[in-house]
Symmetry: C2
Subunit: 420 residues, 2 copies
């Protein structure tokens, strides 16, 4: 088992040089062929998915997870279309980021290159296979995919179809591999393949991400945990605040850029919170507040509860939010910087100085003034697509597009220079 895993990682490592040098036309043509292959193999893929779905039902997989696991014609079309979209994105590889001549005549250029081998560890969402492959391949990287056991038949069928396209284009086979074994030992061994794999990106829930962070020796980019705050300042346009919080909380539940916590200035809490409650009632949003928030919301309201310390740091991914009252902007900033996950936070205010301070002092990947946190997304940011949203500060922060999957190297042109 481990020998198979090791060989697969070694092959990707060996092929990284050739994959990193593929020209843009070849990469784009391959992505289009891979999209075609998905549709040409629709029957096998949907049959394989039916097996996963049946097993999921037998094991009483929750409805939400079953829905993520399910493939049908339209979803497969969406995956194929995703690959075609990536083909249209600009190729980041080879960009000369800077070049200058030094006093000794050396010409030093900084050139964008692929990272090498990227491992993606994900759960039961078969669409991640084509998404992750597309972005890794377009950025010149070899992708090693490790999906959850619940989707293994689907993943094998999808990856086989795409590999067929790679073979037709004579792409080195290390460009795309799937780890078919789904036991924990293999996953743990994979996370330690530091000699062959340059980067691990876990895509999934907090448990998966924490497990990768704790066990991997390969560098990891943490993604997608979002305890996102909206702060309603005393100088807020209250109607706008209601509108933005409603959007950030309810437009799509269960995503990392949804609002989980709100912070309200005491000066307007009494007036504002009942309006917010009324607007969120139709979605049955439970509001867990501190004592003054509960007082303002109405302690007898069925959806109002007392918050515990744990609530301030919780990403509910559900129709629940915490409500904290503060006496000042300082207190709001301190509260948010203490409990957030550095993903996305917004302030609603009409005051210029308050807005600027919030932008400067909140330690988060994306900081908004008067807009919904739901915009934290590669497409919305104009990056074309995203491999995830980084909540750490090294290498990439916030929505990660193709550039986040690249590194650089220095190339130096000399004519005999030696160091004095």
């Amino acid at each position: 088992m481990d020998a198979k895993l090791q060989e697969l990682c070694r092959q990707a490592h060996e092929d990284r040089i050739r994959v990193g040098m593929l020209d843009t036309d070849t990469k784009n043509r391959t992505l289009e062929l891979a999209a075609d292959a998905l549709m040409a193999h629709e029957q096998e893929i949907l049959e394989a998915n039916a097996i996963d779905m049946e097993r999921g039902r037998e094991r009483n997989m929750p409805q939400g997870l079953l829905d993520r696991l399910k493939l049908d014609h339209d979803r497969l079309l969406g995956m194929a279309d995703g690959l075609r979209q990536v083909a249209k994105l600009e190729d980041p590889i080879g960009e000369v980021m800077s070049m200058r001549k030094r006093p000794n005549g050396l010409i030093i250029g900084k050139v964008r290159v692929a990272i090498g081998v990227v491992g993606i560890i994900f759960e039961a969402r078969p669409n991640v296979t084509s998404d992750a492959f597309g972005l890794c391949f377009k950025s010149g990287n070899c992708a090693i995919l490790k999906g959850g056991s619940d989707a293994i038949h689907s993943n094998i069928a999808i990856v086989s179809a795409m590999q067929e396209a790679l073979r037709r284009m004579n792409i080195p086979k290390g460009a795309l591999s799937l780890i078919e074994s789904t036991d924990r030992e293999t996953t743990n061994a994979f996370m330690k393949m530091k000699d062959y794999v340059d980067l691990l990106i876990p895509r999934g829930g907090r448990g998966l991400i924490q497990s990768v962070v704790n066990n991997a020796t390969i560098p990891v980019i943490e993604t997608g945990t979002g305890n996102c705050h909206v702060y309603v300042d005393q100088f807020a346009d209250q109607e706008m605040a209601v509108n933005i919080i409603k959007n950030a909380k309810t437009q799509r539940i269960g995503v990392c850029n949804a609002c989980e916590s709100i912070v309200v200035h005491r000066a307007i809490a009494k007036e504002f919170l009942p309006k917010l409650y009324a607007a969120l009632k139709e979605y049955d949003v439970e509001m867990r507040g501190d004592s003054y928030a509960v007082e303002c919301l109405g302690p007898d309201q069925p959806l109002v509860k007392d918050a515990t310390e744990e609530d301030w740091g919780t990403e509910y991914l559900d129709y629940i939010m915490s409500v904290k009252i503060v006496d000042s902007l300082d207190e709001a900033i301190a509260h948010i910087n203490k409990y957030n996950t550095s993903h996305s936070e917004a302030i609603i205010t009409k005051n210029y100085d308050v807005a600027q301070r919030f932008l400067n002092e909140i330690d988060s990947a994306c900081v908004y003034v008067n807009a919904s946190t739901r915009f934290s997304d590669g497409n919305e940011f104009g990056l074309g697509a995203e491999i995830g949203i980084s909540t750490q500060k090294l290498h990439a922060r916030g929505p990660m597009g193709l550039e986040a999957l690249t590194s650089y190297k220095y190339i130096i042109y000399g004519n005999g220079q030696v160091r004095p």
Copy 2:
């Protein structure tokens, strides 16, 4: 003990916001005052260093290490001058890296910010204290220094002097701290302070770096291991090749950008290697070759030895080099990519296509044509100063200047936008 460590890390974490927002003038003035403070406290610092030196001698510390540990008036002046140089560098913080308006009216800016809290783990070189503090502080980061026990008295005296300057400028005290405890438990606990520390940079030998990589849960940037190659192509200017290898091998021994391995095309080996041997003889450079290299060098020469497999991957940091003969450019590239540490490699050639292929296909932070690997250095690259040379591909690669100590965040200006 751990409570003290934790409090020190927590304080730095708390102060990171204020330190990250310090204006450039305040930072520069503080760096200059810190430089003055080093000289004002010269007597205490040199006395403290004398204690470390005496203990080192008692423990039979090797002469090379004693030399690195030793401080005197000129070296202290050099440290103070280093801080003044950093004050003169451009402040990277606050740079607007991009800003654009999206179709929905959102204005999305990408702004350079500090990383937060940077931990530096180093060995018995007291000058690292002021170097690391200067670069971390100028880039808006809080620095937590953990030096080796051999230099603890020197480090305490140096850091105390600089902290005095910080207090005079009302800089939050988390901006600079030294972990005074030098036992292994404290070091290990420090490497796991992930809630408070954003980045660890080990500065020292391979053992130190590996220990940090293996034990840390905080992200690490690996630096400074260099098995650097020079490839002498069949189309090389042989005189230039001798000159460059002599420089790369002997100009300074024991540094990471020194040449450790040479690769020579078979077509010129017989002619070239005796010239190289003659030029390196005055430095007593031992040459460990494969069988044909030994044949060309002369098996009876006192400095010629047979190489073992282990030699190809060894960073000697000594007057020794390995010599590999290859039949082709392909073989040279494959050999180098297999055994290098992704630091710096050079080719000597007059052939355009060969040069271009080497630049493209060698997987290394710095790839040279016709120049010495010894130029891989922050100052030589025009970065002003360096905190180390990264041999990994995430975040920063090659010589790391102030920018490598920064991250970015997105700031988004809206006027009520919600996601449809």
